[in-house]
């Protein structure tokens, strides 16, 4: 069970330090700025303390327990030292310790992470067990033991805090190193004989650097808090002016029982809070920058549940296309600018027809699909266009209508069926859940069983979990799910990509068979032109967000008008017309390419 060493697997680990664009208006940006401002204020106070404060931080400059006055802005403490000066000079201690402890903690943590993540095996096990051990480490004794050897000074404090906090960055960064290590470039470098140190410094280090930066801020944050706690408990150096020691003396001099607390307890307490919150905001901003998932971005909030919506079925006398799209545009807005992903796309899918949508990766196919389902995710935004389903105008704002249509009139067989199933639930439950939209629970269960049988999954496996199935089988489950409510239109987005060739053919056959059986329309989306050409009645060629060519399959493949279509066709030699998809592999896969 070593695959799940929970302690060594920090749950806050952020696996993707790719700096992808981030939606505008994410909290990190604002928080980061706020954090930087707060810290700058403290930093200015700390650096210019001798200029700002009118009195030294230590040594009496007034009577004990003076109330605030023009002379002593925050009054004086129990021996007549100026509290305002102590507040400013205290910032120096907190910030210095934060900086040094973070350097030590992240330095050690990073070294351990790199060593463990790089060498794996026994070294890793030992290192990570030591990391585990630090959680159960008698921290308080360590404080006293180290203080005995080195005295109660800044060095000891930094050492103690470093010794306590290093395991956290070690844990987080190790999982990152492990991932980075599996990266193609790193593997390639290794294959070409790069040495360990070189791989670590040239390849692994840069990949974990953003996360290490985030950890640095986090550790600094913890260090500020720890230093203050130690000082408060009386385990720090009471002769060193810091926020913690000011609070220590305030607490031991019963400040909460006297009138002195508003200027003796509140300011250092708030200063500590500001420092920690400033670091936390900054740390969050860095983490979000390192891992844009955290940005969250603006995700439309939907209100009504779909099941209450009137059905969008075709009227009895309706003879038009199942789906009609007019001038649909979708754009992505990020902090790096705006990109038009779908640009005034128009097309229609007739009843019972199979329409193929072909384009290379990044052409906007999937954006189009999600837009059709009303599932455009931020930072994407539908900016223009009309969608008609069975003649009903879905409009881009009428999300509730779309929701009524999803799973009923329009169903999706998504890209990467490998991940389209929730790993936590048995498959039959996931199919039944879909079927429940239009029927009660027992009926839905029956329907689910029926559908799973139909796509070729034997009854005894219905209660199994997704991970227990192969990719092809999972795709069958996904198809069963899509069919749950007899949709009028099936959107199949790269339905067989990633499957082995034999399975591809089987799934395609199943899909087409079922289309006929249920009389559905099919929008088949793929980068694989031959595959689409074999199945589709009509074809749409998409390039850079626009549909550059549309027409019957024979026409598009036979006499392409657009240069891009020709280019696509040339990339797939041997495609000269529709071929019947059979149980055997298509001929093109046997040709050398």
């Amino acid at each position: 069970m070593t695959a799940q060493p929970l302690l060594s697997n920090d749950t806050t680990a952020l696996p993707l330090p790719v700096t992808a664009p981030r939606p505008a208006g994410s909290p990190g940006r604002t928080l980061g700025r706020l954090g930087a401002v707060l810290l700058s204020i403290l930093l200015i106070g700390a650096v210019f303390a001798p200029l700002i404060a009118r009195h030294p931080a230590t040594g009496r400059s007034g009577r004990p327990f003076e109330a605030p006055s023009g002379e002593h802005w925050l009054g004086t403490n129990d021996i007549g030292e100026d509290l305002f000066a102590q507040l400013l000079f205290g910032a120096r201690v907190s910030l210095t310790i934060a900086l040094l402890a973070a350097l030590v903690g992240v330095g050690v943590g990073l070294a351990v992470a790199l060593l463990a993540g790089y060498s794996r095996g026994r070294v890793e096990t030992v290192l990570m067990r030591i990391v585990d051990l630090t959680l159960a480490f008698p921290f308080l004794v360590l404080v006293i033991v180290l203080a005995a050897f080195f005295g109660r000074n800044l060095f000891t404090t930094v050492l103690v805090i470093g010794a306590v906090v290093w395991s956290r960055p070690a844990r987080v960064l190790r999982s990152q190193v492990v991932k980075a290590r599996e990266n193609q470039h790193v593997l390639a470098a290794q294959a070409m004989g790069a040495t360990g140190p070189r791989i670590i410094t040239r390849h692994l280090l840069p990949r974990v650097a953003p996360l290490a930066a985030a950890q640095f801020v986090r550790v600094a944050n913890i260090a500020v808090m720890l230093e203050a706690s130690l000082a408060f408990l009386g385990l720090g150096d009471p002769t060193r002016v810091s926020w913690g020691s000011t609070l220590h003396f305030a607490s031991t001099a019963n400040a909460i029982l006297t009138d002195s607390w508003p200027w003796w307890i509140l300011p250092p307490g708030l200063a500590l809070t500001v420092a920690v919150v400033g670091l936390a905001f900054l740390g969050y901003a860095i983490e979000e920058w390192a891992d844009p998932r955290l940005a969250g971005s603006t995700r439309p909030r939907r209100t009504a549940s779909g099941s209450n919506q009137p059905p969008l079925t075709a009227a009895a006398d309706y003879t038009g296309p199942v789906l009609e799209v007019r001038d649909l545009s979708v754009e992505y807005r990020t902090d790096r600018g705006t990109k038009l992903a779908v640009d005034e796309v128009s097309f229609a899918v007739g009843a019972g027809r199979t329409v193929g949508l072909v384009g290379e990766s990044g052409s906007g196919k999937s954006t189009l699909v999600t837009a059709l389902l009303g599932l455009t995710r931020p930072p994407g935004r539908v900016t223009a266009g009309t969608v008609l389903l069975n003649g009903h105008d879905l409009g881009r704002a009428k999300r509730s209508l779309l929701e009524g249509a999803r799973g009923r009139q329009i169903a999706l067989v998504p890209q990467s069926a490998m991940n389209a199933l929730n790993p936590a639930y048995p498959i039959v439950r996931q199919v039944a859940e879909a079927a429940e939209l239009t029927r009660d629970a027992p009926a839905a269960r029956a329907r689910a069983a029926e559908l799973l049988e139909l796509v070729g999954i034997p009854a005894e496996r219905h209660r199994a979990f997704p991970h227990e199935f192969s990719g092809g089988m999972r795709q069958r489950v996904v198809i069963a799910m899509a069919l749950a409510n007899d949709p009028d239109l099936l959107l199949a987005d790269e339905p067989v990509t990633g499957l082995d060739v034999v399975t591809q053919a089987k799934i395609m056959k199943l899909l087409l068979d079922l289309q006929k059986k249920f009389g559905m329309s099919l929008l088949l989306i793929s980068h694989d032109l031959p595959l689409v050409a074999h199945a589709a009645d009509e074809m749409l060629i998409m390039h850079r967000g626009r549909i550059v060519e549309a027409g019957p399959t024979v026409q598009v493949t036979g006499s392409p008008q657009h240069s891009y279509t020709r280019h696509l066709l040339e990339a797939f030699p041997g495609v000269h017309g529709p071929r019947v998809v059979s149980g055997s592999a298509p001929a093109r896969y046997q040709e050398p390419s």
């Binding site: 021996i79 002769t239 029982l257 009138d259």
Partner: protein
């Protein structure tokens, strides 16, 4: 899901608020209901062996509730008979015949006899390690030899040297143990002995470890039925918590000194009264007299002269104390001189160092004749803030003299360890430290012997300061066996020597201020040398006297009539702060709602 969750979340604070509502401040009356007094340390099962003297200074008083001594009050020159009816010495004072009162009983009904007394002396000797602070009663001074039972009521204590102070030490200090309980105990420091059985006015009936002691009155006590039936002593280690509990009425008194910063406020509080009785505490700097250049009395004396003890008292104690005297002993001690002249004279101190060859050096720090700069470390207990503050102030005061002190704060065990040489007899590594003496030291007729005699039969003197002065030793030895009048003269000579040699520099003697709620109980007896939580505060004859003297206004008690709006200003800010926070919360919550609803894009 949200609809379900919200009411639950709302309910939580309501539930908590429900707990708050019933009034928590329940006033205790002496009749029936227990009297609650906060103490600041848990002392296991309160036997003379179980207490740790490091944690709580009021353990003597607590033990005194359960156990009795032969005489009362070690602070007196001629203590009052307690368990003993009388104690008569032989001619050379090496043998004391103690006669016990009639009809004494242990709390479990077993008669208390001479056998118990004899056993007690022998047992403390046998368990010298565990008995800690009582060990010296049966070791060197006085030089205990044996205890013999003469008859039921009479016991004879024999010493190897004259013991003129028998009635005080050990008479008024050594708790008498019941033989029938302790004779089989070989591990007295463990709590295997269970609830203690003494002869005192209170029976310990319940111990909630680290939280509470519950006592019930011993109605058959030989001094009469105690005035309070039940005592509850909650352990409150944090002084702020204890004194705030006193203010709210959660406790009726606090068994430790009112901190200086609370004194004014408390004396104005109409619900509180203050009693004053010094416990002869002192705080001093001990120099390592065996380590050069601190071994030079002139250097030590110069530092003492350059230290402004008045300023220390004004600053650290806010005036609630007496500045330390060069003659070391507490000015109110029956044994000390009444000479209260300060030796503060920084200019003379400078001259003294100039003359002794301490020349100015780099950074304003003088250099000793042997070439070492006068740069020292001052060890302080980091958990006694007043000591830390004193250290800081002394360092500042001595800087102009050209002596540098770096204050080094240590936890108590580390501090003791630093003072202890690795091998007994070696010179310990410290330079100076600040330490505190509780009542015992200053009223003990042999105190100066213990602290400054060298080497001392068991190395006491060396252990405390390392001070060596053969002339001093000779007088000190003579003093231990001298009769009172002569002893006082000798002690005065010793004090003069201390004042000259300055092995230890007394910084201050704290006032003892004790606060209580007179509405709950007003029989408190403020005996010198004790706190107010002593058995005498509950014994009718003493309570009567105390009340009478308080009424005539002689006592330090000050149930002031001035009523001030205490806490009024305190209330405002936090309430405003909380309202503001709540307000912000509501605004955020409100904003979130419509914003979320509009966000339908």
């Amino acid at each position: 899901m949200n609809q379900v969750r919200k009411p639950v979340l709302l309910l939580l604070p309501l539930l908590l608020a429900g707990l708050v509502l019933p009034g928590s401040a329940v006033a205790q009356s002496p009749e029936g209901k227990p009297l609650r007094v906060a103490i600041n340390g848990f002392e296991n099962n309160l036997t003379p062996f179980s207490v740790s003297f490091g944690s709580a200074p009021n353990t003597n008083d607590l033990i005194g509730l359960v156990y009795d001594t032969l005489f009362w009050s070690q602070v007196k020159e001629d203590p009052e008979p307690w368990l003993a009816e009388s104690a008569e010495p032989n001619a050379d004072m090496t043998e004391w015949t103690v006669t016990l009162r009639d009809g004494l009983e242990w709390q479990d009904g077993v008669p208390l006899t001479a056998a118990d007394v004899a056993f007690t002396f022998e047992y403390y000797k046998k368990q010298a390690g565990a008995s800690g602070r009582y060990a010296h009663h049966v070791s060197d001074v006085p030089l205990f030899q044996s205890a013999t039972v003469v008859d039921e009521q009479t016991v004879k204590i024999t010493y190897g040297a004259p013991a003129p102070q028998f009635k005080v030490m050990p008479g008024a200090d050594l708790p008498i143990l019941p033989k029938h309980i302790w004779e089989s105990v070989t591990d007295p420091k463990t709590m295997s002995t269970g609830l203690p059985v003494g002869s005192g006015p209170y029976k310990l009936v319940e111990i909630v470890p680290d939280q509470l002691y519950r006592f019930e009155a011993n109605e058959k006590y030989f001094k009469g039925k105690p005035t309070v039936d039940k005592l509850e002593l909650p352990v409150v280690k944090d002084p702020s918590a204890a004194f705030s509990a006193l203010r709210t009425g959660e406790v009726s008194s606090v068994a430790f000194n009112v901190p200086p910063e609370l004194f004014d406020q408390f004396s104005k509080n109409p619900d509180l009264a203050l009693a004053k009785s010094t416990r002869y505490q002192s705080t001093q700097v001990n120099f390592n007299a065996r380590k050069a250049p601190l071994s030079d009395p002139k250097l030590r004396k110069a530092m003492s002269m350059a230290t402004d003890k008045d300023a220390l008292v004004e600053t650290v104690l806010l005036g609630r104390g007496t500045p330390g005297l060069p003659t070391f002993l507490h000015p109110d001690s029956v044994w000390g001189t009444k000479d209260t002249k300060s030796d503060y004279d920084p200019e003379a101190a400078k001259k003294m160092l100039d003359d002794a060859g301490y020349t100015p050096g780099a950074g304003g720090i003088r250099v000793a004749p042997d070439g070492k700069p006068l740069s020292f470390s001052m060890l302080v207990n980091s958990f006694i803030p007043q000591d830390v503050r004193a250290g800081q102030l002394i360092a500042q005061q001595l800087a102009p003299l050209g002596v540098e002190f770096k204050v080094e704060a240590l936890d108590p065990a580390a501090l003791t360890a630093r003072r202890r040489p690795a091998v007994m007899g070696d010179v310990p590594p410290y330079d100076a430290y600040i330490t505190n003496l509780e009542s015992h030291g200053h009223v003990d007729p042999d105190a100066l012997y213990y602290f400054f005699h060298s080497p001392g039969p068991k190395g006491f003197g060396v252990g405390i300061t390392g001070y060596t002065n053969p002339a001093f030793d000779k007088i000190a030895e003579a003093a231990t066996t001298a009769p009172n009048d002569e002893r006082k003269k000798l002690i005065a000579q010793l004090q003069e020597t201390i004042a000259t040699d300055a092995p230890s520099m007394a910084l201050w003697y704290k006032d003892g201020d004790w606060a209580y709620r007179p509405a709950d109980y007003d029989g408190w007896v403020a005996d010198p040398g004790q706190g107010i939580l002593t058995k005498r505060s509950f014994l009718p004859e003493y309570v009567k006297v105390a009340r009478a003297s308080r009424e005539s206004g002689e006592d330090g008690g000050s149930a002031a009539g001035e009523s001030t709006e205490d806490g009024g200003s305190n209330l405002l800010l936090p309430v405003v702060a909380i309202l503001a926070l709540v307000g912000v919360g509501i605004v955020v919550a409100r904003r979130r709602r419509p914003a979320g609803a509009d966000d339908d894009d």
